[in-house]
């Protein structure tokens, strides 16, 4: 009986999120107690729905680009041609993770200006690391017996990569994407300090006008998105793992 409780809870969270985004006005009585009598309780400088969609779009573009580049780089350094770069790429990933997102964001501004671009760059760089790390771990820890069987059956290196190595690594790669998306969802809010259109706008407007309801709704929408996407990708990961396990 208990197995389906989390699924019901997630479904409920999703419905709540959709209801709030489609008709924020109907939730006004809930948020009203948090603000001064004459202040607005629902964000009124733009549509929450369109900000949410823009937020998701930014995260999606950055994660897509990060996934492509990270997987290609991981493939490169695990081939004989790129083996020289393997150790270095590991330490670079380590060093890269010490760069705070705000610093990356702020440092990207002089190069590309204000708006969505610096946010995309920061999210891209930040998203690269978990995906690269996971892909690398997956590709370097494949079961030896399987690899030898593939080699023994006369597969070319390219065939081995596409038919054996990548499918087997996929669940771990998806786990990396999942981590990266959750980090990006939260980091994208900081993008609004450099004028990117994300849900951070709602939170920052709340901080500036001392409006707790704004901060709460911005924060909760991002939190709900993160939980839902995290769970969704976990399900995808489990599905792929089951399939490759069965194959």
């Amino acid at each position: 009986m208990r197995a389906w409780v989390p699924t019901i809870l997630r479904g409920f969270l999703l419905l709540l999120l959709i209801a709030f985004l489609v008709s924020p006005g109907s939730f006004e009585p809930l948020l009203k107690p948090l603000v001064q009598p004459n202040a607005p309780a629902i964000y009124n400088q733009g549509s929450l729905l369109s900000l949410t969609l823009l937020h998701l779009r930014t995260v999606f573009i950055a994660t897509l680009a990060a996934t492509i580049i990270a997987v290609l780089l991981a493939i490169l350094v695990t081939r004989p041609f790129g083996a020289e770069f393997l150790a270095l790429s590991r330490s670079l990933v380590n060093i890269g993770q010490t760069f705070p997102p705000v610093a990356v964001l702020a440092l990207a501004v002089p190069a590309v200006g204000f708006g969505e671009k610096p946010t995309l760059i920061a999210l891209f760089l930040y998203g690269l690391l978990p995906i690269f790390e996971n892909t690398l771990t997956a590709l370097t820890n494949l079961p030896r017996s399987v690899m030898e069987a593939a080699r023994g059956s006369g597969m070319t290196p390219v065939q081995r990569l596409i038919q054996v190595e990548l499918p087997l690594s996929l669940p771990v790669v998806v786990a990396g994407i999942r981590l990266s998306v959750v980090i990006s969802l939260a980091t994208a809010t900081i993008g609004s300090t450099v004028a990117a259109k994300t849900l951070g706008e709602v939170i920052i407007a709340g901080l500036q006008s001392n409006n707790l309801a704004f901060v709460l709704q911005g924060g909760l929408i991002v939190g709900a998105l993160a939980v839902l996407i995290y769970d969704g990708l976990s399900a995808v990961e489990a599905m792929i793992a089951r399939r490759t396990g069965a194959a």
Partner: protein, 388 residues
């Protein structure tokens, strides 16, 4: 004999050629916020210094390009980095018109590309040398001392970022103190609470999922929102709990930032304590039980030392994360290096942004190196014990 090229060396050489020949080296701006005029390397330095720098860079690139000992590569990288940092300071003095106090000189893209290229060479050389942890810390100390000497010597004083600093030297150190206080203080509080909580979760299995799931949920709330959300409850506490205001609890400022960083830090500490304790080999525990150790003795003498590397890893994650996130505290008046970053963004004064961002990155990097070394030193103990 065929000459063998180093693949990374080719990448570095390409970067160096682009950064040195095509991209500009320094930018001269009439004042701190307008667009400036970019100058190439030979235009931004007196002839002797310009050609000297080019000579050093060519030699270093050659060392990168051919397969040689990592020590030679490291030496070449250090020489190139030193020449670059000294030159950019010199370029500032050279480019600034005499007596003009408004003009600003800042490094341009070519400088950053060259810096990146030779930092890459240094990173590669250090990775290949694979120095023991103590040596890595020594490298860090030497690098810090070199940068410190450079800053003290005043050779960078003409640079824009140093002009931003000299205008607010007092504030800089106050905010630096606040930044470290926030990052370290919340880490300390998280360890103080998280360790016992982790031990409790390890011993009382039914607690585990609930606590970890709750802490996981906290992580999904974006930092700026969590900072903001804590303003109200802390403000309420300050107003209604006697003595709370006296110890510095306030709705805005450092307190909500501190609590938010503390909450974010709890998950890694608790989760890794649980994982670390769960990873203690059963045999070790059985042996300890067999020689009559009590539960507490086993915890402190067996389980805890064996779990230490995993717990230290959590501390590394938390410290690096806190140093980065403490910059956001500035948005709610909590101080820290973020003050300069956000002021700089507001005034579109990028050198001010650098004044906030560079120390943050340096601090996070240094902590990562030190803690990585600590982790490695501590994980050797059980291995040694096993082989003995």
């Amino acid at each position: 004999m065929r000459v063998q090229f180093d693949k990374l060396g080719i990448v570095i050489a390409l970067l160096a050629v682009y950064g040195g020949l095509w991209a500009s080296f320094a930018t001269l701006k009439p004042n701190r916020i307008v667009q400036g005029k970019a100058e190439a390397m030979l235009q931004s330095l007196p002839a002797w210094a310009g050609w000297g720098l080019i000579g050093v860079l060519v030699l270093a690139t050659a060392a990168a390009l051919f397969r040689t000992s990592p020590w030679i590569k490291l030496l070449a990288a250090v020489a190139a980095l030193a020449a670059l940092t000294l030159s950019i300071g010199h370029a500032a003095t050279f480019l600034t018109p005499a007596g003009n106090t408004y003009a600003r000189v800042s490094p341009a893209s070519g400088f950053w590309i060259l810096l990146f290229a030779f930092a890459l060479l240094a990173a590669d050389a250090i990775t290949r040398l694979d120095p023991p942890p103590a040596m890595r810390v020594l490298f860090l100390v030497v690098a810090a001392a070199a940068i410190g000497t450079l800053l003290m010597s005043g050779s960078w004083n003409g640079l824009s970022i140093m002009k931003e600093y000299s205008g607010r030297a007092d504030v800089f150190w106050v905010e630096a103190g606040k930044h470290v206080e926030l990052a370290l203080g919340s880490l300390f509080a998280a360890v103080l609470v998280g360790l016992p909580l982790g031990i409790l979760c390890h011993r009382v299995a039914p607690l585990r999922d609930g606590v970890l799931n709750t802490l996981n949920l906290v992580q999904t709330i974006p930092s700026i929102a969590l900072f903001g959300l804590l303003i109200a409850p802390l403000g309420w506490i300050a107003a209604n709990v006697p003595g709370a205001a006296a110890i510095g609890i306030r709705g805005i400022g450092g307190a909500p930032a501190f609590v938010a960083l503390f909450l974010y830090s709890l998950l890694p500490v608790v989760a890794n304590t649980v994982v670390g304790l769960a990873g203690v080999p059963r045999a070790a525990n059985d042996a300890a039980r067999g020689i009559g150790m009590t539960g507490w003795q086993r915890l402190f003498k067996i389980e805890f030392p064996l779990a230490l590397p995993v717990i230290l890893t959590a501390i590394r994650i938390v410290l690096v994360q806190n140093i980065g996130m403490a910059t956001i505290a500035a948005l709610i008046g909590g101080g820290g290096f973020g003050v300069f970053v956000f002021q700089g963004i507001g005034q579109t004064a990028m050198d001010l942004v650098l004044l906030g961002a560079v120390p943050t990155v340096a601090l996070a990097f240094a902590s990562a190196v030190v803690l990585d070394a600590l982790i490695e030193m501590n994980s050797r103990v059980p291995n040694g014990a096993r082989s003995a």
